[in-house]
């Protein structure tokens, strides 16, 4: 036990004296949270839409007024009037505007006759996000326009009423669980990957191996020391990240305690995975080269940035065995839904099982000699 503590003590003393490493392992995920959270989370605004009115009737004018109302309030788009369609389409192709709303001749007449009136939205679909935002707003805009006549007493149309169980979750909050796991991973990668291999290459491990320390003491020492640093990174992200992302009641002690349990389970799983990957490596380039690939392979298929349900089958296989998936799911439950530990029981069980398997495999592969 003394020997395990000696290894941990040494690692933590060094950690305390390398402020740069502490900052890197915690600041990087926070920066990612803020940048990604706001880069993807915001609503699309101020698109330029050209309007070609070939009708000039009252319903057409009303439609243009609705467009201006959107431009003034939701500001999804601004309208630019064009005298003819050719000029508008030329500007669309040259990227000066994002779409052309075409009100054809006879539009007003068809509206008044109830004869299937149509307007066309010719859009630049190279940007899917902008295009779908535009389509959504236009469809909504046409909805009340359609209901201008008094509705019949009885309607055969089925409607869907949506009930939202949780308050609105901005994207930055949706991203927070993944970011917490990422911070733990970065710490595991630096502590369990880069520093571990650097120490080995410098011969520091040789110093350990000539002492009577046992194999399992050495492995446990390395892993617990790495986990301690990763837990610290996780806890900073849990608190600071919650404050930055604007999670309601961010310092709720009961929830923080539950998060601590999950932080510990995640840190142990990721550090033991890293140790297993690095157990036979001696070249300091290897952990650095694998850092980016591992990050991509583990982070993105975990559902941290996009719903798992949208993934192709082969990626779902990665998702199923990726410890990130369970950690991210657990943090989503705790952060976004404020559930109890019972709700994340399966996640904790997977992470614990993963830790045990990785540690056993690493112990079998670890060599007590050079």
């Amino acid at each position: 036990m003394h020997r395990i503590l000696a290894i941990i003590e040494r690692d933590l003393r060094r950690f305390r004296r390398s402020p740069t490493l502490i900052v890197v392992s915690m600041i990087m995920p926070l920066v990612q949270l803020v940048v990604l959270g706001y880069a993807f989370g915001g609503k699309v605004k101020n698109l330029q839409v050209g309007v070609v009115d070939q009708d000039h009737g009252v319903p057409a004018v009303k439609l243009k007024e609705l467009c201006q109302a959107v431009a003034a309030n939701a500001r999804t788009f601004n309208t630019v009037a064009y005298p003819d369609e050719a000029a508008a389409l030329r500007d669309l192709r040259e990227g000066r505007i994002s779409a052309v709303l075409h009100i054809p001749p006879q539009f007003s007449r068809k509206v008044l006759a109830g004869a299937n009136p149509r307007v066309a939205l010719i859009e630049d679909n190279t940007d899917q996000f902008a295009a779908s935002a535009l389509e959504g707003t236009m469809s909504q805009m046409l909805g009340p326009y359609n209901q201008s006549a008094p509705p019949p007493r009885m309607s055969a149309h089925a409607t869907l009423s949506v009930v939202e169980v949780y308050p609105y979750v901005p994207y930055i909050q949706y991203l927070l669980p993944g970011t917490i796991v990422l911070a733990i991973f970065v710490s595991a990668m630096i502590g369990g990957g880069i520093i571990y291999i650097d120490d080995k290459a410098r011969g520091l491990h040789e110093g350990y191996l000539v002492t009577p320390i046992r194999k399992f003491e050495l492995i446990l020492g390395f892993n617990l020391a790495g986990a301690a640093k990763a837990i610290l990174a996780g806890l900073v992200l849990v608190t600071v990240g919650s404050l930055i992302a604007g999670i309601p009641d961010p310092l709720n002690l009961a929830r923080l305690a539950r998060m601590l349990v999950l932080v510990v389970a995640t840190a142990l799983a990721l550090i033991s995975m890293m140790f297993l990957l690095m157990v036979r490596v001696s070249d300091p380039l290897v952990p650095r080269a694998t850092f980016g690939v591992l990050n991509t392979v583990l982070f993105f298929p975990s559902g941290a940035v996009y719903p798992i349900q949208a993934f192709p089958t082969w990626m779902k296989v990665i998702t199923a065995v990726d410890p990130f998936t369970y950690a991210v799911h657990g943090f989503k439950e705790l952060v976004l839904k404020n559930t109890g530990l019972l709700a994340i029981g399966p996640d904790l069980a997977f992470l614990a099982g993963f830790t045990v398997l990785a540690m056993v495999a690493a112990t079998l592969l670890f060599r007590r000699t050079l």
């Binding site: 003394h2 060094r14 009577p212 300091p284």
Partner: protein, 328 residues
């Protein structure tokens, strides 16, 4: 019982045997030097004896314990200073010692006392609380020597402890080792490239080449064992044309090399050759400008046994040379 007994110890990597059926013994209290060209197998031998590398065949016992079957007992008995400097740069001298004292399971009270005593013994007491990254190479090496003694080992292994140090630090390290050996009743096995050090400090020297033992004796006997025990370096003001042949004909002369008026004469009996040479010079009317007589050095012994050939051989890349590592 010998402190170190090595019997047919062999380590092969594929077809190549770094250590090939080596056998020798080291008595208690000896300073045993291991010399050999680069790649001769010295480090592999030390690594086997310190339980870091398992042997392919053969056995070795340290203080009676088998290096494979009783590896942990061996580890408790030995202190090891590896070739690379392995102290932790971010930690202070005292912390470095403390961690290793804990790894050896030394109780807290004894720990504090031993660390203080050892740091004083290697003249680092005043730097005990300074981070090792501020230490010079010599200070780091001394710290590592103190660290290797923290559990009071009986047998001390040092792999090139003075390589890369300036002459003053080298002398300091060796003086410290001699004193510690006396005070702590140590047996020391050391490898070095510095023949003068080995000559002065080792009781016995083993010369290893191609993984095999080529000579083993005290420095004095080793020097006596090779032909040409003395080297005379003599220069003359002016010499007659067949002067070299005259010198070669002098009694006890083994070999004469000449460069202008300077001659280098290997002799089996320095004093006698010197007297005869002065006689011959006087008779021929040749003026001796300078004369020096040198004894055979261990360098000569080393070259005699291992040859002049450079040992260029490919080896596994050194991970510590990677440009990708963090600081230090």
């Amino acid at each position: 019982m010998f402190d170190i007994e090595v019997e047919n110890l062999t380590k092969c990597f594929g077809d190549f045997c770094a250590v090939d059926r080596l056998s020798f013994t080291v008595e208690h209290g000896e300073v045993f030097g291991l010399l050999g060209p680069n790649g001769a197998g010295k480090s592999t031998l030390i690594r086997m004896l310190t339980t870091l590398v398992p042997p392919t065949s053969g056995t070795a016992r340290i203080h009676g314990d088998d290096i494979v079957r009783a590896a942990n007992a061996v580890r408790q008995t030995i202190g090891v200073i590896p070739q690379a400097m392995t102290s932790d740069l971010d930690l202070t001298a005292e912390e470095n010692m403390g961690i290793f004292a804990k790894l050896y399971g030394i109780p807290r009270e004894q720990r504090r006392h031993t660390i203080r005593e050892l740091l004083a013994a290697v003249d680092l007491a005043q730097w005990a609380n300074k981070p090792v990254k501020m230490f010079s190479g010599g200070m780091r090496r001394r710290l590592e020597i103190a660290r290797g003694l923290v559990h009071e080992p009986k047998i001390f292994f040092l792999d090139e402890p003075t390589t890369g140090l300036d002459p003053v630090s080298r002398v300091a390290v060796w003086e410290m080792l001699s004193r510690l050996k006396r005070e702590r009743d140590l047996t020391i096995l050391v490898t070095t490239h510095y023949m003068d050090e080995a000559d002065k400090l080792c009781d016995r020297i083993a010369i290893v080449d191609h993984g095999k033992l080529v000579a083993l004796d005290s420095p004095l006997k080793l020097k006596a064992s090779i032909p040409g025990k003395n080297i005379l370096e003599v220069s003359f003001a002016a010499v007659p044309p067949d002067w070299r042949a005259t010198l070669q004909a002098l009694p006890e002369v083994a070999e004469v090399k000449a460069e202008d008026h300077v001659f280098r004469i290997s002799s089996n009996n320095g004093p006698r050759t010197t007297v005869e040479l002065m006689d011959a010079a006087r008779k021929a009317g040749v003026t001796v400008a300078s004369l020096s007589v040198q004894s055979t050095t261990l360098d000569d012994v080393f070259v005699h046994y291992t040859g002049h050939q450079l040992r260029d051989a490919l080896q596994a890349p050194d991970a510590a040379a990677s440009p990708f590592m963090l600081r230090h």
